[in-house]
């Protein structure tokens, strides 16, 4: 249904923001040597009790009130497991939730990462009330983007101003 891992990351982060998160940390770790791809979305939202955390990868569990079926996490779980990986949900009420999906990096059925910078740009601009840390590792290379110092510098100037959009896009390239 979602054909890029970057879209799954967006979907998980949306859940984080709906849970009232003010800080969402997104990590994408490509480790070709260990043949492992790890995606992690950690938030400081309201968290889930043990019972909901257990049921959350079931398609008939959803937090939305407009429909009773939620397909985001179940599809990601299935995609990870098909690629010799797994989906882990670590959540504590009042503390936050961390979702970790792992994949065999070279698996033929592994979904492409897709447009990660589009996902990060969309989140950073679309949720001005929250902050984001984006960490990407490819082998020994690391990239980290944190919206907090950017917003501190901009003050009352919104991330959706034309020149700021250009700045963010260049930074994410």
């Amino acid at each position: 249904m979602l054909r890029e891992l970057a879209l799954h990351i967006l979907d998980i982060a949306e859940n984080s923001l709906n849970a009232g998160a003010t800080l969402v940390t997104i990590e994408v770790i490509e480790d070709a040597r260990a043949d492992r791809l790890t995606l992690r979305v950690a938030d400081n939202g309201r968290g889930m009790d043990a019972e909901l955390a257990r049921r959350v990868a079931d398609p008939f569990t959803t937090t939305r009130t407009t429909r009773r079926v939620g397909l985001g996490l179940p599809f990601l779980k299935q995609a990870a497991e098909q690629c010799n990986g797994s989906l882990a949900i670590d959540s504590a009420q009042g503390v936050g939730t961390t979702i970790t999906a792992t994949f065999q990096y070279s698996h033929i059925d592994r979904m492409p990462l897709g447009d990660l910078s589009g996902t990060i740009l969309s989140l950073a601009v679309g949720y001005p009330q929250a902050d984001f840390v984006f960490r990407r590792e490819i082998g020994d290379k690391r990239l980290e983007i944190d919206t907090r110092p950017i917003k501190a510098e901009l003050g009352s100037v919104a991330l959706s101003e034309p020149s700021v959009i250009k700045f963010l896009k260049e930074m994410l390239e």
């Binding site: 979602l2 949306e14 407009t66 397909l71 969309s122 601009v125 679309g126 700021v164 959009i165």
Partner: protein, 120 residues
């Protein structure tokens, strides 16, 4: 992040503030993109990107762009709201092409595009 980028931001901020001073604050537009699982599956992220691209390319200052979750009209996704003053319009099936046109004609030009509105 390199220090140079934060220096760049200082300049960007000063220019944006100078522009704001000469603009009419009452015309401020707010665009909302629905980004529930249904919206994402229908292409809402690329719609969002097209909106940001159009704002950047057409240099339209003073527009707030935010995201929201599923609003229960999944069959019309991607859904985009445009609010200018008290007037709010909901658009359905907003492809990146439609998004660019909506930014140019409605947000930039003040003329809503009737044929893409969702009539409830």
């Amino acid at each position: 992040m390199p220090v140079k980028s934060l220096d760049d931001l200082k300049k960007i901020k000063e220019q944006a503030l100078a522009k704001r001073a000469i603009r009419n604050a009452s015309a401020r537009a707010h665009i909302t993109v629905a980004m529930g699982t249904c919206g994402i599956a229908a292409g809402a992220r690329d719609t969002m990107k097209a909106i940001l691209d159009a704002i950047e390319k057409d240099d339209i200052a003073g527009v707030l762009v935010t995201q929201t979750g599923c609003i229960g009209l999944c069959e019309f996704e991607p859904i985009v709201d445009v609010q200018i003053g008290d007037a709010k319009v909901t658009y359905g099936k907003v492809t990146p092409e439609r998004a660019r046109a909506i930014v140019a004609e409605h947000v930039g030009g003040g003329k809503p595009i009737k044929e893409w509105m969702i009539v409830r």
